[in-house]
Symmetry: C2
Subunit: 345 residues, 2 copies
């Protein structure tokens, strides 16, 4: 075989291949791609045909390098299994689409190492900015310390008003207050709080709201329990532990920091002893997960405006990227109460 004929094109065709096949200059091909109006219809047609024949796909890297920027931003989620984050993604995507941007997702699984890694990866990608969902104060400090200024980041689901970053979060203190106030309104007085490790900022804040509501009512918490985590199994263990106090009348209301926790508690309570929710004890969760409405006894909960959070966070980020004079803001969204069976009286 002759050299010219045998030389296959193993790598994808480039713009010059298209230009050659169409018998035009590469500039015209580029124009046909990005400014169709600048090129004559007949030429356009030849170019389009050539593109089709070759299966030409523009090289994004080269394009980005020449154009000098991306039209997308990154979103790092901490828990794909939690519907809150899925809602956040939905909201962010909506905000992006409205401005002709795209969102690139990454899953940190709540691990600092991965949060870090993806922030770096996105920085190299030169995305316009990154949206980082965070729920651990120590992670925030680590990221903030390591993070070079210049790359806009807005923290989601985390509140910080020291002005170093924009943050958008849902007011967990208010949520904790809301939940507790609901129990108080339905006549409960001997209330305990159940919620995971304090390094989880959302949980710590919910507890604060819990304490404030009790304080305003002139009451003291019966107990504050901090299980290892906020899952169903943790709730189940706490439920076992609470069975006696409930039967003895020492506890008549439980504020849980998550629906899974609440579901576990309710399950344990009704399995182990003939304790009936809500007759003998009210239980309220947090998140408005499927776990809450799907439970045998539908569980009252606090609903978080996740999609709005994502939408708003993306807006903040875009403002930071585009606005010349940008002031970091810490936005807080208000959660709402959803009363269900588990707190009826």
């Amino acid at each position: 075989m002759s050299d010219a004929l045998s030389r296959e094109e193993p790598s994808s065709p480039g713009i010059k291949d298209v230009a050659a096949l169409a018998g035009v200059s590469i500039a015209s091909v580029s124009n046909a791609l990005n400014h169709r109006e600048r090129v004559a219809p007949s030429t356009l047609e030849r170019i389009d045909r050539a593109i089709g024949m070759l299966g030409y796909i523009p090289n994004g890297a080269a394009r980005q390098l020449a154009a000098g920027g991306t039209r997308s931003f990154g979103l790092i989620l901490s828990d794909l299994g939690n519907s809150l984050f899925v809602d956040i993604a939905r909201g962010a995507e909506r905000a992006a689409e409205e401005r002709g941007l795209s969102v690139v997702l990454a899953n940190s699984d709540g691990k600092l190492e991965r949060e870090d890694r993806y922030v770096g990866l996105f920085a190299e990608t030169r995305v316009r900015g990154v949206l980082l969902t965070l729920n651990d104060a120590s992670h925030f400090r680590a990221i903030a310390g390591r993070h070079a200024y210049g790359q806009p980041i807005v923290m989601l689901n985390f509140h910080d008003d020291t002005g170093r970053y924009c943050t958008a979060s849902i007011d967990n203190e208010a949520g904790g207050y809301l939940a507790t106030a609901h129990l108080l309104e339905t006549g409960r007085r001997r209330i305990v709080f159940v919620g995971g490790p304090d390094t989880l900022q959302p949980v710590a804040d919910r507890r604060l709201g819990f304490l404030r509501a009790l304080g305003e009512a002139g009451l003291a918490p019966v107990d504050v329990i901090a299980p290892a985590w906020v899952n169903r199994s943790d709730g189940w263990q706490v439920g076992r532990r609470l069975a006696d106090p409930v039967l003895d009348g020492e506890v008549d209301g439980i504020v849980a920091a998550s629906d899974l926790l609440a579901a576990g508690i309710v399950q344990a309570l009704s399995e182990i002893r003939p304790i009936s929710v809500p007759e003998t004890v009210s239980v309220i969760g947090y998140d408005n997960n499927q776990a809450a409405w799907d439970a045998p006894i539908p569980i009252s909960t606090i609903s978080q405006p996740g999609e709005e959070l994502g939408y708003l966070g993306a807006g903040l980020l875009i403002d930071e990227v585009e606005g010349a004079e940008h002031q970091h803001r810490a936005v807080r969204l208000a959660p709402t109460l959803i009363a269900r069976r588990s707190t009826e009286r």
Copy 2:
């Protein structure tokens, strides 16, 4: 201020800025970045310091352009709310990490337009390949028709053995069979199938398995119901409709194509009439979602090895990208039965 001193660097610093500050050539900086062993320790230190001072971040696009390739692949998920897909992502990420690759995620929401768009986006990004989760046969045809060869794609959660693509899926026919056989083993004989639109390949396959199991037992299905979709509310409506036949003894077993469907059915059945599951009727779902184990009456179900699917699919993709001689394969994974309360006897 002198010109040299006053000139701020509004855009991010480049490799040459680092070189200048460190007093070395750009080649050394590049080496310090990519081949640390090729550069003298003392120089290395100066360079590292300069990088730190400037907050230098390599430009991924330029890097990729020069190096001629990415070290990542794309994964397009069709439903972030479904734990199966989250598991798939986890598996794919594990496979990627083992090979030093990263995974970029995108969310198609099951919409053809978005599946299409992200396939294109990933192609421009020059990812090594893309993993596409699909559950609609018509989407498969559309994508396959439009898709230019060259860009490796493996379809996940979809089976096609025409050899055009690698596909990795979970054997839904076997799952349907498994579920039905379980009901038969527990003595049920008058069984109906409930499952969404037939364009959903997984659902259609589960029904096939259902029919095969019945056929082998010499039985005919009492009914095959196809609600509009596979959600809880669809199940609830079907449940209302099935209440009479169940009470009349015409139906003693229900195979549902999803856990949500099953949960809705059970809920409707127990709300409307004093029908007890599993005493009067057995119900089995599919997916092993939270909806199944979290239900008032824990629902038996078919569990799908999602993480394994993602891991395996990524392996297939990598094999296709790297292997010189690659044969497209259609791999099928086996689901397993999880018996719970709703089918006890």
